[in-house]
């Protein structure tokens, strides 16, 4: 189920989406961050279960900041609130991290641990961790247990990050440029497995940032555009296609202010 198109420039106004059959809900209420050289303007957004949403924007537009804040991993303090199923993320840390999976831009972990040791360590923190599912993901992505994290290639690190974030099937899955820097084959593999793990219409929310407009078409139904710290559009692929004939053309238009 896709939300209705709502293209808008917003500063603290709630995004309206149609009611969704699943109650899962991620809500940003006037969320904003101020750094010495950058400000992410107040942003309000509601995401529902079953939605796959792309966060698009140029470098430094605030995509990673937003994802980290939602995951409860932002170093800086922020204003406003982020709510997952009505629970304020910041006040529910660290326990709420068991409900959120984040695939960061780069794998975090001990280089001297093997893939198996890394996952076994993580497993002890997530009660819903499914070992069979984890093993099937590893096999599917071609990751070997005995390889040390320090010896993994960029593509393998992304894959392992994905397994670590997905093995406990978090209701909210966040991916920070998951396909950036990957070769086309690995990129396709990663995209396909993300689609399989969180199919449209399920009860999970998938929010991913990307520079790659192809990824938007493959993975998302809804697109949120950030530009220089301002949420400048929240729309659907259908609305983008209707606007300029192609998703890429419409997104370029939005980013260029057309």
């Amino acid at each position: 189920m896709r939300p209705e198109a709502t293209v808008a420039t917003m500063r603290g106004e709630a995004t309206t989406s149609p009611p969704h059959p699943v109650e899962r809900r991620l809500e940003l209420r006037a969320f904003s961050v101020t750094y010495p050289l950058f400000t992410l303007e107040p942003m309000s957004l509601v995401l529902h279960g079953g939605e796959a949403v792309a966060l698009v924007g140029p470098n430094g537009s605030g995509k990673t900041t937003t994802l980290k804040a939602i995951a409860g991993r932002l170093a800086a303090d922020y204003r406003g609130g982020i709510y997952l199923d009505g629970v304020e993320v910041r006040s529910a840390l660290p326990a709420i991290r068991t409900s959120i999976g984040l695939v960061p831009e780069d794998l975090l972990g001990y280089r001297w641990l093997t893939v198996r040791q890394h996952l076994d360590f993580l497993r002890r923190f997530f009660p819903t961790w499914d070992r069979d599912y984890e093993r099937s993901l590893l096999a599917r992505l071609g990751l070997r247990d005995e390889v040390k994290l320090g010896a993994l290639s960029k593509g393998m690190r992304v894959k392992l990050s994905f397994v670590a974030a997905e093995a406990y099937r978090p209701p909210l899955l966040l991916l920070d440029e998951p396909t950036s820097g990957l070769d086309p084959v690995v990129r396709r593999e990663v995209i396909e497995i993300i689609r399989e793990c969180a199919p449209p219409g399920g009860d999970r929310i998938v929010l991913f940032s990307t520079h790659l407009l192809e990824d938007v078409e493959w993975l998302a139904e809804r697109v949120v555009v950030l530009k220089q710290g301002v949420l400048c559009a929240d729309t659907t692929l259908e609305a983008l296609r209707a606007r300029e004939g192609s998703v890429a053309g419409a997104l370029y238009g939005l980013l260029e202010g057309r």
Binding site: Y35, L74, A76, L102, Y110, Q117, F125
Partner: protein, 235 residues
């Protein structure tokens, strides 16, 4: 505090510290063997090897914090659904466990050599108590250093905190001079010592050490909870 989280974090720390602890203690044994082979196995040399090594090993746990900050692995730990208290407690437990083999070897070495009078009083139960006390002191020293490493950046640690540590060492040496270990040993051997004196002294010492340990733990937990890797600011 979750026992499962604590055990996972402790296991990780021990996995990391164990090879270094083995190497350090192995080096003490090799040094002692060299002293014996070269005919220089005096009491002083052997004790220097076996008591000096665990003193040096107090730096191992603090250095893991420094390394964690440099390699972003403290950031990794802070992304887990674990509390700062669990992370700090695991560090402290790992530091104490890593120092246990060194303290035990030191106790064995003291038992094996001929101590000069009046230190020959150290045997049996008193030696066991002294070994445990030595391990406790080492652990608390390591915990204080862990707290310093958690609270300060390594570069800043080399400035005024280093001066504070140097002053503390000088103060402790002065106190040790006043107390005169030889006099304590003579008193233990010859008396007269009132029956309450040893338990009272031990209690005061334990309270002081517990206060130091709790303070170090509070500092470490706070530093982990407030840890802010300076990484998420957009360029």
């Amino acid at each position: 505090m979750s026992a499962g989280h604590f055990k996972a974090l402790l296991g990780l720390e021990l996995r990391r510290l164990a090879p270094t602890v083995l190497r350090v203690q192995g080096a003490a044994l090799v040094l002692a063997a060299l002293f014996i082979l070269l005919g220089k196995a005096s009491t002083e040399n052997l004790l220097a090897a076996f008591i000096g090594t665990p003193i040096g090993a107090t730096l191992l746990a603090p250095m893991t914090i420094v390394r964690d900050k440099m390699e972003r692995t403290l950031e990794f730990l802070c992304t887990l659904p674990a509390t700062a208290g669990e992370i700090a407690a695991a560090r402290f437990a790992a530091a104490a466990l890593a120092l246990a083999p060194g303290a035990a070897l030191a106790g064995i070495a003291v038992a094996a050599v001929d101590l000069p009078t009046p230190f020959d009083v150290l045997h049996g139960g008193l030696l066991a108590a002294a070994t445990v006390g030595f391990w406790l002191l080492l652990s608390i020293a390591s915990w204080v250093l862990v707290a310093a490493a958690a609270a300060f950046e390594f570069a800043r640690l080399l400035r005024w905190p280093l001066v504070v540590v140097a002053l503390a060492v000088i103060l402790l040496l002065r106190i040790a001079e006043r107390v005169r270990p030889a006099d304590v040993a003579v008193a233990l051997r010859d008396g007269p010592i009132p029956p309450w004196a040893l338990p009272a002294a031990a209690s005061v010492l334990l309270v002081a050490l517990a206060a130091a340990a709790l303070f170090a733990f509070a500092i470490t937990r706070r530093a982990v909870a407030r840890y802010r890797p300076d990484l998420d600011q957009p360029l």
